[in-house]
């Protein structure tokens, strides 16, 4: 049984299914994460203390510096990484990092995707179709 589908303007990577971790907040691997423990570590982040490993992160916008372009690849090499990233607004660094790491990411929605997906919902992210999308299962 499938729930609502939300279409994105751009996507890359493979189709994945995982529980969503949702917040109206930004994302930067350097600023926000303890990449060794696999948790959000910046105290001001709305997901501070939460594990992101194996989750589909549904967040507002890419933030911060350029390090994420390397860090996604490094995180993937250790298997301590999210299942996918779903963002309202992406910056080039996220696209560059996802391209290097062969990581699943989609971005750009008609609605605020952080309000459309419930935290903890099981979702499928599909960047492989003509229209990249996130589907609530």
């Amino acid at each position: 049984m499938s729930g609502p589908v939300f279409y994105a303007t751009a996507g890359m990577g493979a189709k994945v299914r995982a529980p969503a971790l949702v917040a109206k907040d930004g994302f930067s691997a350097r600023y926000d994460l303890d990449r060794i423990k696999g948790v959000f570590s910046r105290p001001q982040h709305r997901l501070a203390g939460e594990s992101y490993v194996g989750r589909v992160l549904v967040l507002d916008a890419a933030k911060g510096g350029v390090a994420t372009a390397w860090m996604l690849y490094e995180m993937k090499s250790r298997g301590v990484m999210p299942a996918a990233l779903v963002l309202n607004a992406v910056n080039p660094i996220m696209a560059q990092g996802a391209a290097l790491a062969d990581f699943t990411m989609i971005s750009g929605f008609e609605q605020d995707i952080t309000q459309a997906i419930a935290n903890g919902a099981m979702v499928e992210v599909d960047p492989t179709g003509e229209r990249p999308c996130i589907r609530v299962l």
């Binding site: 510096g65 390397w70 391209a99």
Partner: protein
């Protein structure tokens, strides 16, 4: 290039650029004259260094960059690694990364202030720069054209001599999308950083271009540096205009589109509130850090002047570029800072140098800085930052860490 005629490194690079360009709507490429790579080993990790070494082992003709390609700060200052308690494995990884970059023909400048020290880009010059502070300064103050190019993409640009034409390479993306009316012209560098942080938060994402009006004077290079670095850090902003000041915004109508534009007012109280939000529960710090961006020669002298006749009794780190450091040595600034108990470091940046491990090894938890950018980043590494003026930071360092 796509067919592999120039070897596998260039083939990978052009393929990577095509994937990124397609994602971001590029229709073609634009030739670039310089590339700047952010690639500290805390970001690269072992996997990233292994990946670089794979390209470095190629025959020389297949692995060399074709436009001048320089580097952002490294993950340590080898001369001071023991004092920072950097571990041997960190230094070994750094040495491997450096050797790989050198084999690729990259110039190891190790700086995030190349626009002050190496070769500032000129108006209209298309470049592929890493480090958000470098990009925003080059776009906004110099009028150059770059997107945020993370390490893999900046290396790609070095190898191919081009980059996908999207974002800030395009005229239409360089128009303002919000107007910020400033009611109080900042005084100290931390105030400029705070204003940049506020503007960055208001902007909200990479595709927003703030136009600032109301400043009562032209900011200097270090003030622009702190403003831009903070705007980029807090908002992922890559371009701002200051009307009547920056080159593309001599008049408001040069950058403001016809029709409505969202407008925000920022005053003295906002700038103060931004800073006190960080320091309100901290009365003592464990160290003082001047970094992010690296210090100019002028900032180095300001630190030296403030320390004259005093003694820092907690660690005080003044971090500059390998280009500024010899001048600071020659002019006695390094000696003056270190005679007063400070430590001068070069070629690294605090948050790019295993900040979490340094905190654990040195017992550092609470940090004072005049860098809004560092304040934004360092919380994720477990520090509690206080954003204060350079003068107040030095005073705290000389009072056992107590904040006045």
């Amino acid at each position: 290039m796509r067919a592999g005629a120039f070897g596998p490194a260039v083939q990978w690079a052009i393929d990577h650029q095509i994937r990124v360009g397609r994602y971001l709507g590029a229709e073609d490429f634009v030739a670039v004259t310089q590339a700047h790579i952010m690639a500290d080993t805390e970001s690269l990790g072992v996997a990233g260094v292994d990946w670089l070494e794979g390209w470095a082992r190629l025959p020389e003709k297949q692995r060399r960059v074709r436009v001048p390609t320089i580097t952002d700060p490294r993950g340590t200052d080898f001369a001071a690694a023991r004092r920072l308690k950097h571990q041997p494995w960190m230094l070994a990884l750094e040495r491997r990364a450096i050797a790989a970059f050198e084999a690729l023909g990259v110039l190891m400048t190790d700086t995030c202030i190349n626009y002050q020290t190496i070769m500032p880009p000129v108006r209209g010059e298309h470049v592929a720069y890493g480090d958000t502070g470098v990009v925003i300064y080059s776009n906004s103050v110099c009028g150059a054209r770059s997107n945020f190019e993370g390490g893999p993409s900046a290396l790609s640009a070095g190898l191919t001599g081009r980059t996908p034409r999207y974002g800030y390479h395009l005229d239409e993306r360089r128009r303002a999308t919000l107007l910020v009316q400033v009611g109080a012209t900042p005084r100290d560098l931390n105030d400029w950083g705070a204003l940049g942080g506020i503007v960055g938060r208001l902007a909200g994402d990479y595709w927003q271009v703030p136009a600032v009006v109301g400043l009562e004077r032209v900011p200097g290079s270090d003030e622009m540096k702190h403003f831009g670095a903070a705007a980029a850090s807090y908002g992922s902003v890559a371009l701002f205009h200051m009307v009547g000041i920056t080159p593309e915004a001599q008049r408001l109508e040069d950058v403001i589109p016809v029709g409505d534009i969202r407008t925000h007012d920022v005053g003295e109280a906002d700038i103060r509130a931004f800073q006190t939000a960080y320091a309100k529960e901290i009365d003592t710090v464990d160290l003082v850090v001047f970094s992010a961006p690296q210090l100019s020669l002028v900032e180095m002298r300001q630190v030296a002047d403030l320390l004259d006749g005093r003694r820092a009794t907690i660690p005080l780190l003044a971090i500059t570029s390998p280009q500024v450091k010899p001048d600071a040595d020659r002019m006695g600034l390094t000696r003056r800072i270190e005679a007063a108990g400070g430590t001068v470091l070069a070629g690294m940046c605090f948050y790019q140098s295993y900040a979490r491990e340094m905190a654990e090894a040195n017992g550092w938890k609470r940090l004072a800085t005049n860098s809004a950018k560092l304040t934004n980043i360092i919380g994720g590494y477990g520090y509690r930052p206080a954003l204060m003026s350079m003068e107040a930071c030095v005073a705290a360092a000389c009072a056992g860490g107590r904040i006045a």
